[in-house]
Amino acid sequence: MDELEAIKVTFFQECEELLADLEGGLLAMQDGNDDGDTVNAVFRAVHSIKGGAGAFGLEPLVRFAHVFETLLDALRSNEIPGTADLTAVLLRASDVLADHVSAARGLGMVDMDASAAMAAELKAWTDPSAAAVAAAPVEDAPEFEGFTPIVISGDDGMDDDDLGFDFQPMTISLDAQAADVAVLDNVWTVSIRPKSDLYRKANETGLLLRELARLGPIQATLDDSALPTLEFLDAEAAYVTWSVRLETEQGEEAIREVFEFVDGDCELEITRGEAPVADVLASLMEVALPEPAAPVEAPIAVAPVAEVAPPAPVAVSAPVPATPPVAANAPAAAPAAKPAQIEVPGPGQSVIRVDPERIDRLIDLVGELVINQAMLAQRVGEYGIAPSSNLAMGLDELEQLTREIQDSVMAIRAQPVKSVFQRMPRLVREVANMTGKQARLVMDGENTEVDKTVIERLADPITHMLRNAIDHGLESPEERKAAGKNPEGVVRLAALHRSGRIVIEVQDDGRGINRERVLSIAVKKGLISPDLTLTDEEIDNLIFLPGFSTADKISDVSGRGVGMDVVKRSVQALGGRISIASRPGLGSTFTLSLPLTLAVLDGMVVDVAGETLVIPLACIVESLRPKAEEIRPLGPTGSVLAVRDSFVPLIDVGLTLNYRSKSPPPTEGVVLLVEGEDGSRAALVADAIHGQRQVVIKSLEQNYQQVEGVAAATILGDGRVALILDVDAVINLRRRGPPSPSDPTLIAAE
């Protein structure tokens, strides 16, 4: 099969988007933007989830969504006023709905008691008298009798019992219709005229009819007068139309909602009362025919098979002249029929969904292509072929092409960080609830694009940082009031691109880091020696030490002592860095910086002590040959380089990475002026520069182990492995001085 399964997968993907829309809309309402559009969008999101879930027989989900939707419907029709309390309830309901969706997907469970309580709470808003039933589980609520979700059975071996017989019985007796004349107020006539697109998008008229049947007994009358003969039938075009007599207490709006999913793919007319089929069809014809002035004298009515005036073919997928002559005994029918509307099958949807594995494979291959192209270029270089020769120029073009392919392939995998960000408002609500804090999440840069592999691994660190910000950063509402702050704390989550990396910032306006306490805890736990003098920044960074936890009590939220050091390690594993800035009383900012992609990098290839290293180009500001008079000694071993009007520390990469024990004079080498993540500059000394090259990143952690000062490795054109320098780590290594294993300080712990 798994056609049905595939549709289900698509449905859940859509659910994710819908849930995000729902939450986004509710948050906008919380911020006071409760205009009609927002409320409608929120309603539509829940309604769409319900509709799709109904089609798959996801009963608990449908039931909950129904209650939710009912309240939203009342809200959008202004039956109940939108208040902050209501929005808060709706937000919590959206969380429960998300749980139902996850459960339906087989991920996790729904707390049915909580769901029932939530449903009761929602119902209490629309119908205060329903509060009495609050204790009863949703399933037992009498309102939902007859609200049986439809089960579409595929060929997946589902029980036959699933099929067809759960549905509300329909009146099909013609005699019954006569009796109904007296209650015409409840009777509607719904004309359904599907377009070919409806079927092409895997929608189904049968489902629409079933949905209608939920509103009340239906009697569908089919009109197949536009149906061509078998030979000339386009099996994928829509010809047949329906007129449905529906008896329901619900209004036109409810009927229209049934067709919300096929909006645009189905012509619809809803009239109150009984309507002769011909009338309805005629009115539809008026809509469909673009030029009423066109000669309509064509004797349509002579079509022998027609019981009523037949409309022209609804959809003709072939060009008009191809409209075939009809079988000999019905000569007048088809040629006379003027096509009401010509539908050419479209090229399909503009979005394609691709198995990520295929893209990963493509990216791997492109990586190999880049390496191969580099090897080729190197060989050609070795043969001493002139740069102006055809071969060399051809190679240049190849390089250009390779790069374009690579960019395009990487763009396929780039995704906005939104997919991770959208999970966070709920987290913030829950954590704030648990800790008794009031927190508002402000998000920025949700559309910042990052490689998918990076996005997937962002969720955990962000989750942890947010929890931390609320649990440890924000004060309780009372404390905040006492400090003259808004009792509601603000946590800001932002994503931005900065020098070829993605930066994630989590900022709170809480109390800031209590440095005294952090220091005393670190000393007490033996993480640092008591006589060490640390800068504020160094104290702040103590919270990243393994085993450090400032919480006096272990809370549900954070503070199990596996906190920030785990975050730091997982970020480092991604080639990223995390830093913290804190101001007492004003709050803290955690900054996480990661490479945009884990696949390729533009780098400067340099020689250091006979080793080839790659320095990420994004870090390099300029390269220069230092003059002796620009170099000033600093301290016993250090020196600085005067660059224009400032001094930057000179770092011999070979010494830092222990390639050599003594630095050659910097004037003999080349200096690369680099800028670290925090904006600090340093002058890295290398022996020689080979040039700029695009390199494919191969993880060192996966293939060997993490090496301080080295971000990753790559394979060069000649097949040798070269290490990619972690510029920030090198700057930090130099700041700390040479490591000493016997010293139980911050340095050793790091």
């Binding site: 039938l233 099996a235 079988a327």
Partner: protein, 95 residues
């Protein structure tokens, strides 16, 4: 001679083309349509069945739907197509 078509379980968008082809190939022969396996009947395949039914009627050849599954009967009714697809005696028996 009598030929037969066994309808698949799922009569959806994908099934409509092959179904039409199957009927076109059997045109001119008496036909039995076995509908016992059908669990899902969509609008497109319904159209093919309706067109086939008419074609056979035009040819004056017997066209019968045998042993329809309950799902098939139920959906046909939902579509309001039982009159067009089933002979009158069957309708009476089923309803």
């Amino acid at each position: 001679m009598t030929t037969a078509i066994a309808l698949p379980e799922t009569l959806d968008l994908k099934a409509s083309g092959p179904l039409k082809q199957a009927f076109v190939e059997r045109r001119g022969q008496d036909i039995e349509v076995h509908a016992d396996q059908v669990r899902r009947l969509g609008g497109l395949c319904l159209q093919v069945l309706l067109a086939a039914r008419k074609a056979w009627a035009e040819d004056g050849k017997p066209f019968s739907i045998t042993a329809p599954s309950e799902a098939f009967v139920e959906t046909t009714r939902l579509f309001g197509a039982e009159g067009a697809l089933f002979p009158a005696d069957y309708q009476g028996a089923a309803s």
